[in-house]
């Protein structure tokens, strides 16, 4: 069926330095349509949408948007206000919400006349209530956003856009932080909205939901649009090939018998400031030759688990032992000495000191080592040699070992961290979201190294929100929900999804 055109992106291009993020991408969107924008990390999906919304100014190309009566007009670029006025709403992956304001105030922010002596929110409230009724998107309007759950915050973001009469909605990986069930509910809401004439672009790399909920699919690869098709005519395999350019290599995991336990958590309790930083009585064992995957929706205690196993927090109750030794000193240095290698979730902020050199970052965890220092002074020659060797062995590419680490790409920063961790032959490796945001090549490299360490006899604790990654790599799957960890005893997505949502499988 032919629908009215509401948005057309014409040959948008954008470079960042030497990197071409988008190369003459054209996309059309029709009234009431759900378009899925697919692509690997770094394919240019987010950049494209940021240009549409005015956060980035394209180097070339143009955008046309339909007004409420259907006539197309050019959109002034690089101007979020113009995009808002034209009826384009965007929900970012990282929510743009002020936590010290209520949900209502976040929705109204910027929509009222700035310089007025007071506020009258009753009309706004009525309008929002109307939207909530029609779409099923509900959120407590008078609660501070800081107190809302992730799902509620996302609904506030959607309400923000709808309140401003958005006719085109852009959702950047909307389900990344949701359970499969919450995600289904979201798509149901989206369905209700499109019936009212709203058009939606959603960015994703989850083939399953794309196939289930979109009308049309556009695929980006290396900044170019490489394919477009009706969802009805697409299948998982053909889209996957389009995304990665070839059949994605299946990670080969040979069968190994688990060895002795390398990490054991016994009834561990961690009380953090919020639920996401707490663990409530966790028992967990990771054996040698074993990868244990921790699946779960973001904010269910993964952070506390990672901090605990990194030595950054100490448990209030319970014990943590490495091999047969109960750990009593909870600090990162002691954990490194005990043979725990850590790949942090936020590699830019926790993994490297960006202003220091690649070489310095490669030795930062072993400053006590006499290979690195002599009576308190750095052995710069030896450090240089280590850096050269590791950069070569782990294929860390960049402007050189003496250049600041911040100049490396995300993938190369991760390789730097891998080099640092694996070089110390750790007994246990904590890998927290190790492939998030990496391109396929770097992600495969990470997986390969983790499997290699497993083969060598290390235990791996893999925390990931990407269920596919967990299922591909893990010998055992555990599910974390609300600070509790339970064995999944299954590889069935739906069953694990139920556990992630806190319901018995």
């Amino acid at each position: 069926m032919k629908k009215d055109l509401v948005l057309s992106l014409n040959k948008l291009s954008k470079r960042f330095g030497k990197v071409i993020a988008n190369d003459a991408v054209s996309i059309e969107l029709h009234r009431g349509e759900v378009l899925a924008l697919l692509g690997e990390n770094g394919a240019g999906k987010t950049t494209l949408m940021n240009m549409l919304f005015g956060h980035y100014l394209p180097d070339s190309g143009s955008v046309e948007v339909a007004d409420s009566s259907g006539n197309m007009h050019p959109l002034p670029l690089g101007n979020p206000q113009a995009a808002l006025a034209a009826g384009i709403g965007m929900v970012h992956q990282h929510f743009a919400l002020a936590e010290n304001l209520t949900a209502l105030d976040n929705i109204l922010l910027g929509s009222e006349k700035l310089f007025s002596l007071g506020r009258n929110t009753s009309a706004a409230r009525a309008k929002i209530n109307g939207i909530m009724e029609r779409t099923g998107l509900t959120a407590p309007l008078d609660e501070l956003v800081g107190r809302l759950s992730v799902g509620e915050r996302q609904r506030v973001e959607l309400l923000k856009a709808l309140y401003r009469d958005a006719r085109i909605l852009v959702l950047d990986e909307p389900t990344a932080v949701l359970t499969p069930q919450e995600a289904d509910a979201l798509f149901k809401n989206i369905g209700a909205m499109t019936k009212e004439g709203l058009s939606v672009i959603f960015i994703s790399h989850k083939l399953r939901e794309v196939l289930a909920f979109s009308h049309r699919i556009a695929v980006l690869r290396h900044g170019k649009k490489v394919g477009e098709m009706e969802t009805a005519k697409a299948d998982q395999r053909s889209i996957a090939r389009m995304m990665v350019g070839e059949d994605s290599p299946v990670t080969k995991r040979e069968k190994l018998d688990p060895g002795k336990p390398v990490l054991h958590l016994n009834a561990v309790r961690v009380t953090g400031k919020s639920a996401r930083n707490s663990l409530h009585g966790v028992d967990l064992t990771v054996n040698a030759h074993e990868i244990v995957g921790i699946a779960g929706v973001s904010g269910n205690g993964q952070n506390a688990l990672a901090m605990l196993v990194s030595g950054l927090v100490s448990p209030d109750e319970g014990e943590l032992s490495v091999e047969d030794n109960i750990i009593t000193r909870f600090n990162p240095a002691a954990f490194i000495k005990a043979g725990i290698g850590r790949i942090p979730e936020d590699r830019h902020h926790h993994g490297v000191v960006g202003a220091m050199s690649v070489a310095e970052n490669l030795v930062i965890e072993r400053l006590d080592d006499t290979e690195v220092q002599n009576r308190g002074f750095l052995r710069s020659g030896a450090i240089g040699a280590i850096a050269e060797k590791l950069s070569k062995n782990y294929d860390v590419r960049g402007p050189g070992a003496e250049a600041p680490a911040r100049l490396l790409s995300g993938g190369n920063i991760q390789k730097l961290i891998l080099a640092r961790v694996f070089e110390c032959a750790p007994k246990l490796i904590l890998a927290n979201q190790p492939t998030r945001g990496l391109d396929l090549g770097a992600a495969n490299e990470v997986s390969r190294r983790l499997l290699e360490a497993r083969g060598r006899g290390a235990g791996v604790l893999l925390i990931s929100e990407d269920l596919d990654e967990i299922l591909a790599l893990s010998d055992r799957v555990m599910v974390i929900h609300d600070g509790r960890i339970n064995a999944a005893n299954t590889t069935d997505r739906q069953a694990i999804g139920m556990m992630m949502a806190g319901e018995a499988a």
């Binding site: 980035y56 808002l84 970012h92 919400l97 010290n100 105030d105 922010l109 007025s116 007071g118």
Partner: protein
């Protein structure tokens, strides 16, 4: 027991309010800046600039309210420098603020010295006089306390209400609070992060300058070198005490004023046994202690000290 009688003395409470007044201006100014996400350590120098500029304007014949306007303008000027350095350029708020303090102080001193090269005792102006407000000054106890205050103290108290109203009851205040918590939220809704922050720092700085002007135009009648004496820094400490709320800022400034007035009076009673410097130190020590006790629970604006650049999410 004599020490306790101090609290029953009208003059004591009047003095407390007088000492609190410049701090009220200062804390309100600093609070506005910090609510928008910008620490303004230029405050000490902006106090000096306000004190000097306001006084000099009056001395040159501008009239008292003219002096207030000139002081506010001087504060806005130095605030704008800090704003440009820290907001669009995203430079260290600490270093920029200290730089502005040095600049504002030296520019004020230089101007004063150049305008009045050869005076041995500083020239005087006729400052603001106590304001007799009908009904209010007839109140028992409170009346005489208020009766001793000048229009500038009243202005400070009124500004507490105004700042509270603007921050909590207007769309502008909503936006200022949001920009100090998450600039991306403000940007995504089509408001200007730079505009809001620069505006807040400029307005906040002009309030700070009024705190300085209070000293030369209400508390005293002349300008001296070194007269600000850390009041700006104390205001920065009081903002934390006030947990960035105007009402608690007023309370904090009043408590501080009462403490300072108390130590001055206590000094006259026990001064023979205790070196006077112990009393002089007390306000600074008190501020440090308050800071230490409140630091852990302090709920800093989340975006404070964090530079934000357009187009870099």
């Amino acid at each position: 027991m004599e020490a306790l009688e101090i609290f029953l003395n009208v003059n004591f409470w009047a003095a407390s309010l007088r000492i609190a007044s410049p701090l009220i201006f200062g804390v309100l100014g600093a609070l506005i800046c910090e609510r928008a996400g910008v620490l303004n350590l230029g405050i000490e120098g902006i106090f000096v600039a306000g004190a000097m500029a306001g006084w000099m304007a009056v001395w040159l014949g501008a009239g008292l309210w003219g002096g207030v306007a000139v002081a506010a303008f001087a504060g806005a000027f130095f605030g704008l420098i800090h704003a440009i350095l820290t907001i669009p350029l995203g430079l260290s708020q600490h270093v920029s603020g200290l730089g502005v303090t040095m600049l504002a102080t030296s520019a004020s001193y230089f101007t004063y010295r150049t305008a009045l090269p050869d005076v041995s005792s500083p020239p005087r102006i006729v400052p603001f006089q106590p304001l007799d407000i009908p009904i209010l000054s007839d109140l028992p106890f409170l009346g005489p306390v208020l009766f001793q205050q000048t229009a500038m103290t009243w202005l400070a108290i009124i500004l507490v209400g105004v700042v509270w109203w603007v921050l909590n009851r207007t769309p502008l205040g909503l936006a200022v609070r949001a920009v100090g918590d998450n600039p991306d939220a403000v940007d995504a809704q089509g408001l200007s992060v730079y505009g809001l922050r620069i505006g807040a720092v400029v307005v906040g700085s002009s309030l700070m300058a009024l705190g300085g002007a209070f000293l030369t135009m209400s508390a005293f009648d002349a300008f001296f070198f070194g007269m600000i004496n850390g009041r700006g820094w104390i205001a920065i400490a009081l903002v934390i005490f006030a947990s960035w709320r105007p009402g608690k800022a007023l309370l904090g400034a009043l408590l501080f004023g009462a403490f300072d007035a108390f130590q001055v009076r206590l000094q006259t009673q026990v001064g023979a046994f205790v070196p006077s410097q112990i009393f002089l130190m007390a306000p600074y020590v008190l501020s440090i202690i308050a800071l230490v006790l409140l630091a852990r629970g302090a709920d800093y604006p989340r975006a404070l000290l964090k530079p934000w650049f357009k187009g870099q999410r």
